[in-house]
Amino acid sequence: MAALQSSTLEAIVGNQAQLQRSWLEALEAKGAARNIREQDLRQETRDFLQLVIDGLGRESSTHIGAEGWEETRRFLEKLSASRAQVGQESHQTAFFIFALKGPLFDLLQAHYREQPALLAEQLWEISSLFDAFGLHTIRTYQKNREAVIKRQQEELLELSTPVVKLWEGVLALPLIGTLDSQRSQTVMESLLQRIVDTGSEIAIIDITGVPTVDTLVAQHLLKTVTAIRLMGADCIISGVRPQIAQTIVHLGLDLGTLTTKSNLADALKLALSRLGTTAGERV
């Protein structure tokens, strides 16, 4: 594939101001300028055009992974991030780049009027370069988004497993939501660690916030309780609502080895009586 001609670069440099103007008009017409201050847009279009010109001067390759395009790539990454912040979607950021294609093609068409073969070749080169730029903004946008989702998942994992101290020697773990394998692992670890740290004798696992107790959840609960007992502490499951109790019976789950209560208050009362104190008393 033939590279870009220096004559193409000269045409772009010679018409820089005109290109920027037409580009801004195209952005305006398509509504891609919304939510962005005019002076910012002006600055961005100017900077990007300059970067493209610098890049073309430096780099003969139109492969944007090349070293000569590094600054341009970085500019696009920043652009993508700032656009995401103002709530624009990935395709709108990509459109910012694609909107320059029209004015650029017009320019080249006028420039190579006498050489149709060369025109086609140069258009193809410029077009693939700009497609790669556009795709790069989308890729960056997606990467940022995935990073946000991953961070939120991790935060959620941490947030949803708070082990609280209810009383001297009594810990409570209010479970909320879905107990998938990864979460139940985190739950078990943090609870066992807190039992060691606080020297607690009784742990209450409250499942009021767990909408579905199926065999997998039950298995996780049984394993956790077994581990707690192995450490010399005891465990009470609270928050077993009537519909959950009936479902457990029909499922055929044998939770007879567990101590269960319908609510947290009853579980605490039981825990205190086992410890030899009652709620009215000062400890």
Binding site: T212, L216, Q246, T247, G252
Partner: protein
């Protein structure tokens, strides 16, 4: 029997089990199912959807809201193209599992619904149909 509404939803990964549960919860509560029955149905869905993912290698859940002789029901079909079940009798035995679970998913699900139909053979995949009437 008339079908009031129907649709299908993929059950491929662990997260799809949660989505299947949520959809069932919505269907059942829109039909006015009581909380106890709803919880039973959702739990059965949880078991069967997980079986589809873990043992069937992923599949689909077809759902229908049906009416028959003046009563309304929710019917769900779990389909996969997995290895199928060789010994149905064994698979429907409490406490038996080919994996690492408690071995109560399939039998438990059967007890949680009004109608249960298992159609499977080695190499032919597995199809489980459940119905819960209101």
């Amino acid at each position: 029997m008339t079908i009031r509404e129907h649709g299908s939803q993929p059950v491929r990964i662990e997260q799809d089990v949660v989505l299947a549960r949520q959809l069932t919860r919505k269907l059942a509560s829109d039909c006015g199912m009581r909380l106890v029955d709803l919880t039973k149905l959702v739990t059965a869905v949880s078991e069967l959807a997980r079986n589809t993912v873990v043992y069937g290698g992923g599949g689909d859940m077809d759902w229908e809201v049906i009416e028959e002789a003046g009563r309304t029901g929710v019917r769900l079909v779990f389909r996969d193209e997995g290895p199928g079940i060789a010994d149905i009798k064994l698979a429907l035995t409490d406490g038996w599992t080919s994996g690492s679970g408690l071995g109560l998913g399939l039998t438990g699900a059967r007890r949680l619904v009004d109608e249960f139909e298992l159609d499977t053979a080695p190499g032919r995949g597995t199809r489980v149909m459940i119905t819960r009437w209101i």
